[in-house]
């Protein structure tokens, strides 16, 4: 899977789960302030990403530091690279 395909899968999964507008989903977008997610969504976000990429990340400390969509992209790309 290419980097662009990973990013596309992340964005489409999150857009579907959280009813997000794809136009708002820029790498700089803050997932809380700009995309309107909140504490309840953080759990769902982890579940969505785990489902989309078939890995386990809920115990990872780095998840708590995610603030922007770009952070999610980098985090998942790193995990995908590690697992491949």
């Amino acid at each position: 899977m290419t980097e662009q395909e990973v990013i596309e899968r992340i964005d489409s999964s999150l857009a579907e789960e959280f009813e997000l507008d794809r136009a708002d989903m820029t790498p700089e977008a803050n997932i809380y302030d700009d995309l309107g997610l909140d504490s309840l969504d953080t759990v769902d976000m982890v579940i969505v990403l785990e489902g989309a990429f078939d890995f386990k990340i809920r115990e990872e400390e780095a998840v708590r530091n995610i603030r922007t969509l770009g952070d999610i992209h980098r985090f998942v790309l790193e995990k995908v690279t590690q697992n491949s």
Binding site: E16, E17, E19, D44, G51
Partner: protein, 265 residues
Amino acid sequence: MKACCSKTVKSDDRPGAVILLMNLWAYPLLVLWTLFGILISPLFFAFSRLILGWPIHRIMRWFIWLYGRGWLAFMSPFVRFRREQMGVIKNDTPCLFIVNHRSFFDTYCMALLPVHNIVYAVRSWPFRMFWYGGYMRLARYLDVEGSSWEQTLEQCEATLAENGSVLFFPEGHRSRDGELQRFYSGGFKVAISAGVQLIPLCIDGTEQLLPPERKLFRPCRITLRALDPIDARLYSEEGGHIRLRKEVKKQIATALCAMRDEASL
């Protein structure tokens, strides 16, 4: 999701004297009714436990429902309450209710439901209201914000297994403009996981009762309508909760439009 209504409900244009009278009536009675409930609750629990033999959490849910019925009664001189299609709700069939959210008083209006053995899934802040929090905990209400997903699912399944029902406000917050907001997925995942019926409920009019940023009640009409049950087992495929969520949201949006159109006639 934007409304598809052809008509909107006009804001209430009753004279200020009626609004003043309503507030002089409703606020003190709400305080007195709450104090009365707090004072009488130990006696109520003792007698109910003795006579009915129900567990405390079930008695508490009944007590909260009766408290809501009292609120409906003393608000009724100024508010026309109406409930529709309640026949789809069966007392002996546990289900998961999904309700749109327009006002703090939506929860009070759930006393319009013909069943009382219901666990509400709420955020953490309502538990911090000292006059309600203890009762909510005794009724085993779900703190979805303060619990893990696994805990929430486990508690929901335990409630459903003992013939109770669970109620979610999927928008999480009150709508500020009357339009449906984004739906959280939690309730839909629970319904699918537990394999129970999901009953969408539409509430209309509570946004008129106490509009956002206002302090005064206003006379209004409030309608609670139940929609046909949906078998959540039909959505058990991978990602089925999203399909179920979209279907329920569409049904609620359509019904709310129809209700608003009817209200404006």
